[in-house]
């Protein structure tokens, strides 16, 4: 029943996309009517998904597709959970997009409307798919529609390159996923997920399927070393698209991984968990270190997405490890942390990406070095972004803290692992996760401080206008959800319980609910507990007290005076700490991570220019050698191509003769 209504909603999106084509260049109609309608549908979709989470699984068979190959759909707890994330975050992004897309930016608005809603619909169908056929078709639709969205400004060569890179890596991933399904069906020729679940694979073939899934879904999620498309594609895409890709699309990769590792595969091995743990850790550390030195605000967020995906991999790896040793309770805890982080990241990262979109529209500037002091001219965006910043840096009482806290909790109970080697390794990983969380906070301070605080680095920034009403509504929705799930995590864990029940057969809801909605205690109230509302109360109280103290008991007035100027009176706004300056310590400490190209001007230069380019070693160690090999092969193969028709005909003639000889044998 719910599934039928979901399909109606998806059909609604497709209808909107067709209407978008019908009014191709009428910007007003598309942005004021179609996008908000799509946003409302997304909201309806989220509500449907939440209600599906608490009801029994449903299956459906669509008459679409090839003859004899119908589309199998299934709505169970795992898919409902991810659908709720897609719908919820998608609603906010659609509303924002209504205010964002304007006339005359590359692709006409009607076409954007088509691509955007097809993208949304395909993401939902990926999650609903119940056979490899629908899954792959929708997965590719998702990749293609997002490719066209990324290349909205396709007249810029660098954007085309970014899109190409994205498409290339998406296809490598898709091939791996296809092979993974091929292994999972175990020569039965039936590609439904129900059949895959029924197969008893040997540990070798299970491992093959798992590794292929990690490769395939990792390429989409941006796991090392397949992360290179993220920092290129996100800055290239319009902000709502980056938000949708980073906040929502990456989650479909996490969904696929969970589906394969916990649902389709009947066997979990401990070394899978360790592998994912290590991959995730390296990715997260890499992402956070790189985001600390970025000067482009969207690149910074893209690297921060890589970091968050790394943390998700760590949590899933931990869950796999515990599951392999039969420690279901701890596996559930780690999985809950992962799913909580999925929701948290979907909302706060979308919020931040949309915030950069507003800044970009108001100032036309993506470079952090030319922004600053926007808190005064764009208070709405600044305050709403602050919510996202706090959540992203993992500060209580917002959503990011809860997931990181749950993750660290699950690390603290690892001493029960039967393998002494893992027992030693896991605390080290926990320490690394703590380091990553701290560095993420550092990055977010930089992001917020350089853009919104201090003085305007350029004169024209004073005229920057705040976001439009629709943009504000979109941002507000995302910020509100971030705050609400941060303050009432118990309700979200109630929902996650349904998923973990289905995947590992255990849930946290009972223990959590025993303490009421005020206190979150995942294991037991004696071991560790966290009460966001009390925390919020104390923080609020502290702030109020501080203000009262200053106003009443101190001198009580606000003084504006020149600060100490180090004996150099001619200070300008350009002398504030810059993004590069802020990231410098990280650049020094983690220097082996980077390949740095620095241009330091000579002391006698009248117009000194300081330039710093930090790039990724993976380009030089991994991608460029592959590219060179391909190029050499291409030169050899090109010798076949002489441009003479007689020769081409000869090729097919010889092929024919050879085939005939082979057949005759």
């Amino acid at each position: 029943m719910i599934l039928d209504w979901m399909l109606v909603t998806i059909a609604g999106w497709l209808l909107i996309s067709l209407l978008g084509v019908a009014c191709l260049r009428r910007t007003w109609l598309v942005s004021r009517l179609l996008f908000p309608a799509g946003g409302l549908l997304a909201l309806v979709f989220a509500v449907l998904a939440v209600s599906a989470l608490f009801s029994t699984p449903e299956v459906a068979e669509l008459a679409l597709g090839l003859p004899g190959l119908p589309f199998h759909l299934r709505l169970d707890a795992l898919s409902a959970f991810f659908l709720a994330v897609i719908g919820g975050a998608g609603a906010g992004i659609s509303i924002f997009a209504a205010g964002y897309f304007r006339h005359g930016e590359g692709t006409p608005p009607g076409l954007l409307c088509l691509e955007y809603h097809v993208f949304l619909a395909s993401m939902c169908l990926v999650v609903l798919a119940d056979d490899a056929y629908v899954f792959m078709v929708m997965w590719e639709t998702m990749a293609l529609s997002s490719f066209f969205l990324v290349t909205t400004n396709h007249r810029v060569p660098s954007i085309r390159q970014a899109g190409y890179l994205y498409l290339l890596i998406a296809h490598i991933g898709a091939i791996a996923i296809l092979l993974c399904f091929g292994v999972l069906q175990a020569n039965t020729g039936l590609y439904t997920f129900a059949n895959m679940r029924a197969q008893e694979l040997s540990s070798f073939w299970s491992s093959c399927a798992f590794l292929l899934a990690v490769l395939g879904f990792g390429a989409k999620a941006g796991i090392l070393p397949l992360h290179v498309w993220l920092p290129e594609a996100h800055p290239a895409a319009p902000s709502p698209v980056s938000a949708l890709m980073s906040g929502v699309m990456l989650k479909t990769a996490i969904y696929g991984l969970l589906r394969v590792a916990f649902d389709l595969l009947q066997l979990q091995l401990s070394w899978w968990g360790i592998l994912m743990l290590c991959l995730g850790l390296v990715t997260a550390l890499f992402g956070v270190v790189f985001s600390a030195v970025q000067a482009d605000m969207k690149r910074l967020l893209a690297y921060s997405s890589i970091e968050n995906i790394g943390l998700l991999f760590v949590a899933i790896g931990l869950a796999l490890l515990f599951k392999a040793y039969g420690m279901i309770g701890l596996s559930t805890l780690a999985l809950t942390a992962a799913l909580f982080h999925v929701v948290a990241h979907a909302f706060f990262k979308s919020l931040l990406f949309l915030g950069t979109g507003s800044v970009l529209h108001a100032t036309g500037e993506r470079n952090l070095g030319k922004l600053g002091g926007l808190m005064r001219s764009m208070p709405w965006v600044a305050w709403l972004c602050l919510v996202g910043i706090l959540a992203s840096s993992g500060l209580p009482p917002l959503s990011g803290f809860v997931s990181e806290w749950l993750l660290l909790q699950s690390f603290l109970f690892t001493t029960g692992l039967p393998d002494p080697f893992f027992n030693m390794l896991v605390p080290v990983v926990a320490a690394a996760v703590a380091l990553i969380a701290a560095l993420a906070g550092y990055v977010m301070v930089k992001f917020f401080g350089v853009i919104f605080l201090g003085q305007s680095r350029e004169k024209r920034l004073v005229e920057a206008h705040d976001a439009s009403l629709l943009e504000r509504i979109g941002l507000f929705w995302l910020a509100a959800v971030t705050v609400l799930i941060g303050i009432f995590p118990v309700y979200l864990i109630d929902a996650i319980d349904q998923v973990t029940q289905a995947l590992v057969g255990y849930g946290l809801a009972v223990t959590v609910r025993a303490n009421g909605w005020l206190v979150l205690a995942p294991i037991s109230i004696e071991r560790a507990s966290y009460s966001p509302l009390i925390f919020l109360g104390i923080v609020g109280l502290g702030v109020v007290l501080a203000i009262v103290m200053v106003r009443l008991f101190y001198h009580g007035r606000i003084r504006r005076a020149a600060p100490w100027d180090c004996g150099f009176p001619a200070q300008t706004a350009r002398m504030q700490d810059t993004a590069e300056g802020f990231g410098q310590p990280i650049l020094q400490i983690f220097s082996p991570f980077f390949r740095v190209k620095r241009e330091v001007p000579s002391p006698f230069d009248a117009h000194p220019q300081y330039r710093l380019e930090s790039s990724d070693h993976f380009w030089y160690w991994f991608y460029l050698p592959i590219a060179r090999v391909v190029e050499r092969l291409a030169i050899i193969i090109a010798k076949l191509q002489q441009g003479r028709i007689a020769l081409y005909l000869l090729y097919s003639f010889l092929t024919l003769i050879v085939l005939l000889v082979v057949i005759k044998r």
Partner: protein, 219 residues
């Protein structure tokens, strides 16, 4: 009478093979077109005979279609094209003609060798001629390769189609009617497109020599 007719199929097959060899050795475009017409006519005759002997009346229809398309329409079109392009005479070959003939003989031996096991399986009346049909096919293909001008290449292509048609008639007593009709229209459409294409080549390079197309290659 029956025996005579079934022997006549072998005769037609032999004629087809000789005609293809003649096409390969012929230097003049006009003659090649005449030979193509003869090939078509032979095909029509053999189809009618097969149809009569096996009592499959749809073969008459396909013979009629072949007659209209391959014996009348396409030769007329080709004549027009060469008149308009003024290329009635010279034919250049990429490989010299004696060598081509020698390769052709090797191909015929190969085709017979290949067709032997297939012919044993077939129940058709004209199964002995499958080898010849295959040989004609390979020879026509070789004609396409060895010619430097566009018009003989097109004729090679059409002759290849004829051989396929004959092979179908020989091996399985003809394809279903609908397939044959489809192929006939495909060939007709193909010839029109190729005609346009030839004019374009001519306009671009002032010659129909396809070696000029090498310039189009990207370096």
């Amino acid at each position: 009478m029956h025996l005579l007719l079934s022997q006549s199929i072998n005769l037609f097959a032999a004629m087809l093979l000789i005609v293809v060899f003649a096409m390969i050795s012929q230097r003049r475009i006009l003659r090649v077109i005449h030979l193509f017409t003869v090939q078509g006519a032979t095909l029509v005759a053999s189809t009618i005979v097969v149809g009569y002997l096996t009592g499959q009346h749809h073969l008459y229809y396909s013979a009629a279609v072949t007659l209209i398309v391959k014996v009348i329409l396409i030769p007329v079109l080709l004549h027009r094209v060469i008149d308009r392009l003024n290329v009635r005479w010279d034919v250049e070959t990429l490989i010299n003609i004696p060598t081509t003939m020698l390769i052709g003989i090797v191909l015929v031996v190969f085709a017979f060798n290949l067709a032997l096991p297939i012919a044993k399986l077939s129940l058709s009346i004209a199964r002995g001629t499958l080898g010849i049909a295959l040989a004609c096919f390979l020879l026509s293909f070789m004609m396409m390769i060895s010619r430097a001008k566009a018009v003989p290449q097109v004729i090679g292509f059409l002759s290849m189609e004829n051989s396929l048609f004959f092979a179908a008639a020989a091996a399985t007593n003809g394809m279903p009617m609908i397939v044959e009709l489809g192929i006939a229209f495909d060939v007709l459409a193909g010839i029109l497109i190729l005609g346009v294409f030839m004019f374009q080549i001519r306009e671009q390079f002032d010659s129909l020599d396809i070696r000029h197309l090498e310039k189009l290659k990207e370096d």
